[in-house]
Amino acid sequence: MKKLINTPDGVLADSLAGYAAAHPEVRVDPENRIVYRATPKEAGKVAVLSGGGSGHEPLHGGYVGLGMLDAAVAGEVFTSPTPDQVQEATKTVDTGAGVLHIVKNYTGDVMNFDMASELAAAESGVQVETVVVADDVAVQDSLYTAGRRGVGTTVLLEKIVGAAAEEGRDLASVAALAHRVNEAGRSMGMALTSCTVPAAGKPTFDLPDDQMEIGIGIHGEPGRHRQALAPASDIAQLLVEPILADLDFTGAPVIAMLNGMGGSPLIELYLMYGEVAKLLEAAGVTVARPLVGNYITSLDMAGCSLTLLRADDEILRLWDAPVVTPGLRWGA
């Protein structure tokens, strides 16, 4: 395993220490592994909180700041944070207007956040609403399964909902918007290589030099199927088709994110976006806001994912609103 780390077990603590040193505009609670805004939001505004396993940077810590999150709670690599951590962050960011929890749909995340909101309501009376992001079309959705994974839409949702909270909307309205965004987003991912979890010390799966995995998530879990390595134009098709088959993206402005998994360089991500853009245009989909880069990663995995969000004027306005975070910044 080749990584810029000290010890496998110290990765999270050491990385958070570096994050704190690099970004005076956030405040890191090293004990509870929580990233807060250095300057808290004004009283009376809904607080927006997210969290999950680490290894997806800049998600979530990189999205703490004006116009996006108030706090991000970090679990161990690929492991949801605990209820205690989430509860601590929830109590701290509440200004009286309640807290929105943005949770990616994984059994562990959902259970830990559920326990946290039970605790928060019982012990401190904080009002909590939760949106569970579930947008991965690689996963079949059914009543009898864990449902779709939460992937790329999380980034877009944190931005849009963060802007709404900044405007001073109430908790019910912010939560309703969150659900609306979740329902309008779809993602699909692929990998050229496996990632390596530090504590595991070797790649999660073996992938021959001439094969790729289609339908991967962001935790190094193998995908839905494996197939021969293909040109970028074919890969674009494998990402675009299942998304368009799942939801109609025509007739509305679309936010499109071509996301890198952590080990693929920008030159390749732009190239992939070019292929995707061609297919979307041919399918009559209008990309109003493109976003290309590493936004929700899977450690050092090479590969990419595509997220499309069917937007409207309100969502676009919130998307364009100022955001000042280490991971996403514009308008201020």
């Binding site: 396993g53 679990g75 161990e76 690599v77 690929f78 492991t79 949801s80 944070p81 605990t82 209820p83 205690d84 994984y106 059994t107 562990g108 259970m111 830990n112 326990m115 991965d136 690689a138 996963v139 079949q140 009898y144 399964t145 864990a146 994974r149 979890v197 504590a199 595991a200 999660t204 799966f205 998530g217 935790h219 190094g220 879990e221 193998p222 839905r224 199927h225």
Partner: protein, 216 residues
Amino acid sequence: MADVSLDLLTEWLRRFQSLVADNRVYLTELDSAIGDADHGANMDRGMAAVVAKLQEAPPTAVDDLFKRAGMTLVSTVGGASGPLYGTFFLRLGTSLGAESSVTAEALGAGLRAGLEGVLQRGKAEAGDKTMYDALAPALDAFDGVAAGGGTAAQAAHAAFEAAVAGRDATEPLVARKGRASYLGERSAGHLDPGATSTALLFQALDETLAGSAAAE
């Protein structure tokens, strides 16, 4: 028929911790195949914390033992196994009193309360390829022996064997809960990591009680 003492139950958790530590790499390998390669690290981190907590202050009674173990797991593990194992031990502790020992029947009832907690949190059903598939048959076996007048040690041995069988039966299953479910058909052909750690839990109970006073 001797009751199971607080010391033995504490020893059970210690032994579980050491089995988990020994199998850390194996559990993570199982989780690499159909999950996210952290089940060994998660369980090891959690049980190490439990043992450290018990070291700090010895448990005062059987309910205290399991409640503290459960709370420690909830607050140190995260992931799916943290709330599930945590709730399991919390409910087990809650179902027991502030006693210094338990009967085989009471232990069986407590374990079942734990199982109910796991079901409530995780909503798994038989055959979903989760820890439930080792836990449920283990408890059935335990209760069967205990109800028939067997010792706690005999019940634990039966539970261990049933847990192993349950664990092995997860191999051909297509997962419907947890991360493995994302793989669809590709999840078949692999043991479930959580069912495997659950088998270790009953191996630890079996080894602890065998040859102890509870075996009389």
